[in-house]
């Protein structure tokens, strides 16, 4: 099956710093999503990005489908950005999202 790898597994930032999270996947996919899971367990949609680049405020994402990777950029990080960031790829044959193991981000004031 498709493998999804995220890096780094853990990241500690000072408030105001920028960061890049990476997601590699092992096969062609129909869809890719980035999520933020907050400390209460809520999984929040950040981007639906099968290819190309999207921006939403301080966050942006780029997926290069032909090279099987996606990047999530966080600029001017805030303490509320802390949590776990998941990349997930979708296979329409199985209907399921396959999640990476996540990047745990801690932003210190």
């Amino acid at each position: 099956g498709i493998q999804v790898e995220q890096s780094p597994p853990d990241l500690i930032l000072q408030e105001g710093a920028n960061s890049t999270l990476r997601c590699n996947f092992s096969d062609s996919v129909n869809n890719l999503q980035w999520f933020h899971q907050n400390p209460w367990g809520q999984l929040i949609n950040l981007f639906y990005i099968p290819s190309g680049t999207k921006q939403n405020g301080r966050l942006s994402a780029t997926t290069v489908a032909t090279e099987r990777y996606s990047l999530l950029y966080i600029s001017s990080s805030q303490t509320t950005d802390s949590g776990v960031y998941f990349c997930a790829v979708f296979s329409s044959n199985t209907g399921k999202l396959i999640f990476g193991q996540g990047t745990t981000l801690q932003v210190k004031p």
């Binding site: 129909n30 869809n31 999503q33 999520f35 209460w40 367990g41 809520q42 999984l43 929040i44 949609n45 639906y48 099968p50 998941f86 997930a88 979708f90 329409s92 199985t94 209907g95 399921k96 999202l97 396959i98 999640f99 193991q101 996540g102």
Partner: protein, 114 residues
Amino acid sequence: EAGVTQSPTHLIKTRGQQATLRCSPISGHTSVYWYQQALGLGLQFLLWYDEGEERNRGNFPPRFSGRQFPNYSSELNVNALELEDSALYLCASSARVGRNQPQHFGDGTRLSIL
């Protein structure tokens, strides 16, 4: 627009009991998915329902089952509960899957087995 709603928020059971978790999708969504997030094991796909039919299931024993109702809401049933079933259970919904629509998640049900 209301998001995906799940109930109950928390559920405490003992070993051997049965648990029922409920999910209401976003209005207009016909596909419902269930995922389990156990401590240290990441997010694992459980079940996919579309148009009332079970379309796929993950690598879980048969005591995990569910159904989708005509209004597209869904139930997840877990029989003969075991300690390792303690986890956050997340439900997601999407529009018709053939269009590769994104999945939107509810806030989850935290199931604790004593």
